[in-house]
Amino acid sequence: MSATSNRRPLARVPVGSTAIVSRVSGARRVVRRLLEMGLVPGTPVTVQREAPLGDPVELRVRNYALSIRRSDALGIEVE
């Protein structure tokens, strides 16, 4: 993609912001699960809040709340 696109891991998206999923990478099992839960490229995702200990994070995707660990959120690239 173009160098101007603002790509970063979902784990770096501040709480309350929305971004669009561009790529999901990592262990196949995790990637497959995240895709099945609806985090396919092109999907808007909002970082809703983080757990009291900072991990995991709560996402809002396709009108439901999904919680994933930060380590897995690192593999989700958004723009």
Binding site: A27, V30, E36, R49, P52, R62, N63, A65, I68
Partner: protein, 739 residues
């Protein structure tokens, strides 16, 4: 045990309807609304998921067999359990379904449609129960039902199952789907020509291997195989021919070489269709307004408020298991004692009466005594799950649990373990992955359950002189605290070690839906509790009963006729002696205690105790303690009573002064004191770590689906307990702490 599965074979006369749906979609509520009170629960043979089914009368008098599938977000399978659900949908199960009922959460239509599309691809008639339409309406979500029907080719019935709305329409729709099973085709999922070629290749392979006959099912199975089989063959899926496995592997490798990702292609293709359908049928407010779930979460997952709420909820659960169950447990124990006394009084004394009283009735008591805690724990778990809090609890505590390789959801079972391992092991079902479940149930018995407390009490009171202190703490309190600390450290360490060794697998992860807060439907909740209790009584209960009887035999036989004769003579002598009633009673008890003690020492268990003395002596235990440990396999607290019998003290409990006295006075043959403080600590350490509980073994057998894991658990815990006690006693003795 698979016996209950055979008790109710799916009726061949009725059409078979499978119920599928996402977790938290209200699937159980829909199932219950349709089935009424006629639910049967059975096991799928060989695996540990329950199969709920019911015979349901439809509109027009036709009856169907309704079978519930486990809640899932997709058909891709990571475990044998999930594979069974998929195979029953694909007609690889005992019989091909006549229709599928999909329960979809109207508030999360896109996610529900993903599963629905997977099911529609199979080609069976589908009825969609669009559930929780009241909530969707409240959130401003508007779904065009007719358009959804037109696009999917399925009948769509709006329902609010918690209020019974839409149930009659569902019955009518199911009847229609079975009577006119011509399925309008849904639009094809968009696939690249490369993917189509891949699927065609596998479809041909499946058909030529004669695993399936219908091309459409073969094509769905091909996609399922591509998504579910691991590249390294490290999955636990079975019953898949090697030729098909290598075919799938080949297709994946070719795609990867061409820079393609088949997982992404298949899943994204389906979501492409989902998005198209959703955009056509569903109008939702552009920015979802702040729901009350969100407002509640602002507190319940808050940095401080969330931690406080979590601690408060868990304390209530623990208090309930530990204390609220007490009256019911006491009542069960009293009833068992009363029945035993009654049977003893009406039947002639002898081996048969003894078998009935001390084997069968005691065994039934050993089973039923767990019911209050199981019922309470599942009531709380069900309540918290249905309210939506259980997922938040996992969210809040996951960071802590993952440090030792456990899932956030493992917290509630682990906490329950401090009360009793039996309900706690059953509660591991709230974990999705089999590896997580196994890991949790294997380390759970290390948490210090309440049955260990009587042993700690007896030992500390015996070996520590009243008033002995370590710093400002009494030595007893210090020892007690140390045992609980040891149990926590042992459980967490064992989890970390097992995760890196025997249960090594892909890194455990957490992908967890946080459902909206909802009010539970109490009839569904209570039925769930009853089903758990019932399965426990039928499956684990029979094993516990059998083990109780075996243990009773080992502790009672063979009898020594000389001992019985001697006791008979003593009784006769007592009968002719002129004594006050109280004195006579006391002497009778004494004779009986001596007789029981002598018979126990003569029994198989007594002999085994002597036999293993050389093995346990390095831990500081003599053969009499060995007999107590053998007896304690029935349940840990039985150690106290068995030890009492070995030392000729009848009816001893942990607060029994005479037992403490004999224990303090007991010596080794060379005159050295037996129960030194060091030996006491060694004994407590042994009980913290050893799997001294056959009911735990029985429940792990039931929940893991075989004898392999419970036997492994007993083995590793015994090795751990032996090594730790050996270390304590030997190092302590060398350092001169033995006296």
């Amino acid at each position: 045990m698979s016996a209950p599965a055979l008790a109710h074979p799916p009726s061949a006369r009725h059409a078979l309807v499978l119920v599928a749906g996402n977790p938290n979609s209200g699937k159980s509520t829909v199932f219950n609304a349709l089935s009424g009170a006629r639910t049967r629960v059975a096991n799928y043979p060989g695996v540990t998921i329950d199969r709920r089914s019911a015979t349901v009368a439809l509109t027009g008098g036709r009856a169907i067999e309704l079978t519930d599938l486990p809640g899932t977000y997709s058909l891709a399978a990571r475990s044998r359990e999930e594979q069974i659900a998929v195979e029953s949908l694909l007609g690889r199960g005992p019989r091909r379904p006549d229709a599928i009922l999909v329960v979809a959460d109207a508030t999360a239509l896109a996610r529900a449609l993903y599963l629905t599309i997977e099911i529609l691809e199979i080609g069976h008639p589908v009825v969609i129960a669009l559930n929780m339409t009241d909530e969707a309406r409240r959130d401003g979500i508007d779904i065009d039902v007719e358009r959804l029907e037109a696009l999917t080719g399925a009948r769509v019935i709006p329902t609010v199952a918690s209020k019974g709305m839409g149930t009659d329409a569902l019955r009518a729709a199911l009847a229609a789907a079975i009577e006119r099973p011509d399925v309008p085709r849904m639009p094809d999922v968009a696939r690249s020509s490369a993917l189509q070629a891949d699927l065609a290749e596998l479809e041909g392979l499946i058909l030529s291997e004669r695993v399936m006959e219908r091309p459409q099912e073969a094509r769905v199975w091909a996609q399922w195989l591509l998504l579910s089989l691991e590249h390294d063959f490290g999955d636990e899926l079975t019953n898949i021919p090697a030729s098909i496995r290598s075919g799938v592997h080949r297709v994946h490798e070719r795609a990867t070489a061409a820079g393609r990702n088949l997982d992404l292609e298949i899943i994204a293709g389906r979501y492409h269709l989902v998005d198209r359908v959703v955009s056509e049928v569903c109008r939702a407010p552009a920015s979802a307004r702040r729901s009350w779930t969100d407002r509640v979460d602002a507190f319940l997952t808050h940095r401080i408020g969330g931690a406080v709420a979590f601690a408060a909820v868990m304390m209530v659960v623990f208090q309930a298991l530990f204390s609220w169950s007490e009256p019911a447990i006491a009542a069960i124990e009293d009833t068992v004692t009363a029945v035993q006394a009654f049977v003893s009084s009406v039947m002639p004394a002898g081996p048969l009466t003894s078998l009935i009283v001390d084997g069968v009735i005691a065994g039934v008591g050993n089973v039923v005594v767990f019911v209050p805690q199981i019922a309470l724990l599942f009531l709380f778990i069900g309540l918290l799950e249905d309210l939506g809090y259980l997922a938040r609890a996992a969210f809040v505590i996951d960071r802590v649990m993952r440090a030792v390789g456990l899932h956030g959801r493992a917290f509630v079972p682990m906490l329950s373990g401090f009360s009793c391992a039996i309900p706690a092991v059953m509660a591991t079902r709230t974990l999705e992955s089999r590896t997580d479940r196994l890991l949790t149930m294997l380390v759970l018995p290390l948490t210090s359950c309440s049955a260990r407390l009587p042993i700690y009490v007896l030992v500390t009171a015996t070996v520590f002189a009243p008033g002995s202190r370590v710093g400002f703490l009494s030595a007893g309190a210090m020892a007690l605290f140390a045992m609980y600390a040891l149990s926590v450290v042992a459980a967490l360490t064992a989890a970390a070690v097992l995760r890196r060794t025997v249960l090594k697998g892909p890194a455990p992860t957490l992908v967890l839906e946080l459902p909206p807060y909802r009010l539970p439907v109490f009839s569904v909740l209570l039925r769930g509790v009853w089903q758990r209790v019932r399965t426990f009584l039928l499956d684990a209960g029979t094993v516990i009963l059998a083990l109780t009887i075996i243990l009773w035999v080992l502790l009672s036989y063979p009898k020594d006729p000389a001992v019985a004769a001697e006791a008979g003579q003593a009784r006769a002598a007592l009968a002719s002696a002129a004594l006050a009633t109280e004195e006579r009673e006391a002497r009778l008890v004494e004779i009986e205690s001596r007789e029981n003690g002598a018979q126990l020492r003569h029994s198989v268990a007594g002999r085994v105790g002597r036999l293993i003395e050389p093995v346990i002596a390095p831990l500081g235990f003599d053969w009499r303690i060995g007999v107590g440990i053998l007896g304690a396999f029935a349940a840990r607290e039985v150690f106290v009573g068995t030890l009492g019998v070995v030392f000729d003290i009848a009816g001893a409990d942990e607060t029994n002064e005479p037992l403490r006295h004999v224990l303090r006075a007991a010596t080794w043959p060379d005159g050295a004191r037996l129960m030194t403080p060091l030996a006491g600590v060694s004994l407590m350490v042994f009980f913290v770590l050893a799997c001294q509980c056959m009911s735990t073994v029985a429940i792990v057998k039931r929940e893991s689906g075989g004898w392999r894991w419970p036997l492994f658990m007993v083995a590793y815990m015994t090795v751990l307990a032996y090594s730790a006690s050996l270390l304590v006693y030997q190092v302590g003795s060398r350092l001169g702490w033995g006296l």
